[in-house]
Amino acid sequence: MSKDKILITISGLDKVGIVAKISATLAQLSVNIEDIKQTIMQDHFVMMMLCDISSSKENFKLIKEELIKSGEELGMEVWVQRKEIFDKMHTI
């Protein structure tokens, strides 16, 4: 279901352990990672993860809160959004 696809965008200064920490949080919540892309923008590390939350027992709100908490521990900014917003906005 498209409702279950979420996009996580993590940005900040590059450091050791970003992928490990965020992936661990996702694993704990039973959220499946479908794709990961990384890029450097204006000296900032930006990682985007496409995930599916359909097999998680937790709801979107809690998953988002946990990810933002993990981001704060890393000193990174984390955005968690349902993927539909990007699909609607950028495709005709």
Partner: protein, 455 residues
């Protein structure tokens, strides 16, 4: 496996985070036609219960969606059937009582505004309308969230000049009754020519009598995003290219609004109504319609060329927006409120944006003279003249125009007024000192225009 494009993701987040893309309003339009009764208390009870029934989850569901898509939903609002029609059958038509009921219901469900304390009198008043109009100043002074509007003219009926003079009086009285807040009450009142029945924006939102039981109407916003998009193309790009980039941006803004609107309507289990394509500014830096003129290459709003720039902007937004949504409606045009737009405020402060230029601008965009602070001692007849001019522009051009001016009590031209929040701040503008009183006191109706021989 679904795919995604990094550039799209980053662009969307920048649009929201840096350039103020937001859903300005989710407005629940609700018919109150079944609340009519001979006893005003019964009418009030029916209205209160109906609003609670339909709107009790509006705020919560909107907040949920805000979280899921990480896009701010600034206002949650309710628009009701013009209340003049609902109270009219009562033996004791105490409209101020209904105003308080509406305000209480709005507070209970946690919405930001409730609109529809309204009357449609372009051809004249019923007895009920007359009682209603008298009640507006007190209703606005004794409520917080209530918004009021009056339709005074249309391209088919002409301009009700008796109504125009009455409304000028209402504006003055409302400002005086809220003198302790610099006449804030008048900021919650607007008069129209060709008002629309599915407008989600305040102060003019109401649920027209031709509308269904209920619907969810959406207003998006994103002048900052449009400005950013124009700034990203070369300074010497031709205006066809500028129009194109505005269309593409409007498409992106509108699809987002449509997505949120449809989701919210489905959760509330009510039909999705329309999306209003208006570009609505806020006083926040970078969220300005006048800022778009600067990006297009004008020094500031008010420069010669402003009307042309606004006409192109307004048209391009509609072209891009209609492609993005099945149901477009409401006002759908750029807003140019003076006190709610940082660059308009700046231009007014410098004295380069005058009431005459604003009037010209309203010929090519949707909303008319909006959020303009004027001297508190402006004669009623001068305000009536100002309204009549604006109504004439709407009537002849078959478009919506409106007037929302605030005669700030005890303040004079050049002094400053702060309304706060989305309503912003502004210098008090000068109006013509010439006398309009004999003309506006003639009363009667300016006849509807001929709809051929179009020059």
């Amino acid at each position: 496996m679904a795919d995604f494009n990094e550039k799209d993701i980053i662009e969307t987040i920048q649009m929201i985070k840096v350039h103020h893309l937001d859903i300005r309003t989710t407005t629940l339009a609700l018919s109150l036609r079944d609340c009519i009764s001979e006893d005003i208390k019964v009418t009030g009870d029916k209205i209160y219960n109906k609003i609670i029934k339909y709107a009790k989850n509006l705020k919560k569901y909107a907040d949920d969606l805000e979280n899921e898509f990480s896009i701010p939903i600034i206002n949650k609002r309710i628009a009701i059937t013009p209340i003049s029609l609902i109270g009219e059958a009562a033996k004791n038509p105490d409209y101020v009582y209904l105003a308080k009921v509406l305000d209480e219901a709005a507070n209970e469900v946690g919405v930001d505004f409730i609109g529809g304390y309204s009357a449609l009198v372009e051809k004249g008043c019923t007895r009920g309308d007359e009682i209603f109009l008298e009640s507006i100043p007190e209703a606005l002074a004794s409520t917080q969230k209530l918004c009021s509007s009056v339709n005074l003219a249309s391209s088919k009926a002409g301009i009700n000049m008796k109504g125009v003079l009455k409304v000028a009086d209402i504006i003055k009285k409302t400002a005086e009754l809220t003198a302790d807040k610099d006449g804030l009450g008048a900021a919650k009142f607007v008069c129209f020519c060709n008002s629309v029945s599915d407008n989600p924006f305040m102060a003019g939102a109401y649920c027209g009598i031709n509308e269904p039981e209920c619907a969810l109407n959406i207003g998006v916003s994103g002048p900052g995003v449009v400005r950013w998009a124009i700034e990203n193309i070369p300074k010497d790009a031709d205006l066809g290219e500028v129009a194109n980039i505005i269309k593409k941006t409007a498409f992106k803004i509108t699809t987002t609004g449509e997505l949120i609107g449809r989701e919210l309507a489905s959760r509330l289990n009510i039909p999705f109504g329309v999306i209003d394509l208006s570009l609505a500014p806020t006083p926040a830096e970078g969220d300005s319609v006048a800022g778009i003129f600067q990006a297009m290459g004008l020094e500031q709003a008010g420069a010669h060329g402003t009307t042309a720039a606004l006409a192109m902007l307004n048209d391009a937004v509609k072209k891009g927006g209609t492609m993005a949504s099945s149901y477009v409606g409401g006002l759908s045009g750029a807003f140019i409120p003076v006190s709610e737009d940082a660059q308009m405020i700046e231009a007014a402060k410098r004295g380069v944006l005058t009431i005459d230029k604003l009037e010209a601008m309203t010929c090519v965009c949707s909303v008319g003279l909006d959020m303009i602070a004027i001297p508190g001692d402006t004669p009623k007849s001068t305000i009536a003249g100002l309204i009549a001019d604006e109504m004439a522009i709407g009537m002849i051009n078959k478009k919506t125009t409106a007037v929302r001016v605030i005669p700030v009590p005890n303040k004079k031209e050049g002094e400053w007024v702060k309304f706060g929040g989305l309503l912003g701040e502004a210098p008090i503008m000068s109006l013509s000192k010439l006398d309009s009183s004999v003309f506006v006191n003639r009363s009667g109706r300016i006849p509807a225009p001929i709809h051929s021989l179009n020059n």
